[in-house]
């Protein structure tokens, strides 16, 4: 099914600062995975993190989400901002599809019965309502990623974090997940932070592109500028990456 969705490519009103990273370092043993990251994200922005493998995209998302501690520096979220993350390879718990989603709500204080009702609504958003009673582990890769998406949607996040959400999927499943993502983005003014190797996806979904290399931010530009303007002089590393010479 080909659904053409218009995604607004304008820069949102940059008044409400939602997330701020100040001089963030993350160290694994002797390896510095993130170096002096400074970043401001405003409500409603759709930020894509791009870069070669090992550049620090996933690490940065995990730090922002709060599941990975920083070695130094600070991560500030505006108080009360609900955030949810979809991982590259979602882990399915050994339970039914509906319970899998309801658990996320229950852990955030929603009573179990109400959580199941809300979970069903979230499953409808990703077309998985017919599989609500099935064991989550028996779903295909694409269905599992859609389920992970449903779980994230269920908590009504003001900020959604996606770590290469389609990279481990076959082309058909990839299209399905992208269609859901694009629908969701078109209908919500939620902040979106995602990492991707798929530059077409970045072009379609992001309003701002951040290029990382060896744990450093080397370019932070509006999407139009990142893809359409010459970067040889201003951001030579990003230019080489776009030419496929930094993979």
């Amino acid at each position: 099914m080909n659904v053409q969705i218009e995604i607004q490519q304008t820069i949102p009103n940059r008044k409400e600062l939602q997330l701020q990273l100040q001089s963030v370092d993350v160290q694994f043993g002797n390896h510095l995975a993130l170096k002096q990251i400074d970043l401001n994200v405003y409500a409603g922005e759709r930020v894509a993190f791009v870069g070669a493998n090992g550049s620090g995209k996933s690490t940065l998302l995990r730090v922002i989400h709060g599941v990975l501690p920083v070695s130094s520096g600070q991560v500030h979220w505006q108080p009360g901002v609900q955030q949810a993350m979809v991982f590259q390879r979602p882990h399915m718990l050994r339970t039914s599809v509906i319970n899998f989603v309801a658990l996320a709500l229950w852990l955030r204080g929603v009573p179990w019965r109400s959580a199941k009702e809300q979970a069903l609504q979230a499953l409808q958003q990703v077309d998985l309502q017919d599989l609500a009673r099935r064991n989550a582990k028996t779903l295909s890769g694409g269905q599992q990623q859609r389920l992970a998406f449903a779980r994230a949607l269920a908590v009504h996040p003001q900020c959604m974090l996606l770590d290469e959400p389609t990279s481990s999927l076959d082309p058909h499943a990839k299209r399905e997940v992208e269609r859901i993502m694009e629908h969701w983005i078109a209908e919500n003014a939620t902040t979106l932070l995602f990492s991707s190797h798929n530059l077409g996806q970045v072009k379609r979904l992001a309003t701002r592109v951040i290029y990382l290399e060896n744990g450093r931010i080397l370019a932070d530009l509006p999407t139009q500028q990142f893809f359409n303007q010459p970067l040889e002089k201003s951001h030579p590393e990003a230019h080489l990456f776009l030419r496929g010479e930094r993979v």
């Binding site: 599941v67 991982f87 882990h91 718990l93 050994r94 852990l107 064991n135 582990k137």
Partner: protein, 245 residues
Amino acid sequence: MSSLADSAFAAFDLITQLDPMLGSVVARSLWVSLWATVIASSLGICFGAWLAVSRFYGRGVLLTLLNTLLALPSVVVGLVVYLLLSRSGPLGYLGWLFSLKAMVVAQSVLVFPVVAALTRQCVEDADRLHGEQLQSLGAGTVLRSLLLVWDERYVFLTIVITAFGRAISEVGAVMVVGGNIEGFTRVMTTAIALETSKGDLPLALALGLVLLTVVLCLNILVASLRSWRLREDGSTSDPLQKAWI
């Protein structure tokens, strides 16, 4: 050779005729080992799961100690429990020495490290793979460990069955703290040791056969669990989970 064959036939007769002495020894063995498994598994799974997700100073030392306890000789356990429960020991007032309760305590102590160490390894591996995703849902340390235990519940059934196998087949600890009193604290393993030393090979062999049958049943149970679980999980390809079964 003929002596062995005669003993085997006599043992077979004892089993098929449901010899009351044999029956009582088998029932007592099962009772003691089941209780020991329940107690050790309850404590061991909680402790192991907590240890898997916790990070604190001295954790490495505790892990080394726990892994060392896996090779704990059963007679040493028997001796320690004996000293604790003897009249002059700190728990002497309980009056449990040479009772089934003492045997349950000894087997629990023996089996606890097995359950705790296997649980710790299993939960820690699971946590490394997908603990972050549970953390992402808002699960704290304790809740995360409980969710991982629940998610890996079939593996824990295997661990519990393994623990039961260890408990029912040990002889040293129950001999020391139970005293091998006929009709009271005599269990399969202590009876086999005694009857062999007395030369009553048919009874020893019959008990040995029953013990082997129990262990065989446990193995069949583990294999059934494995196939049931793989069927339930459908096309799961998680190598860790497959490796654990």
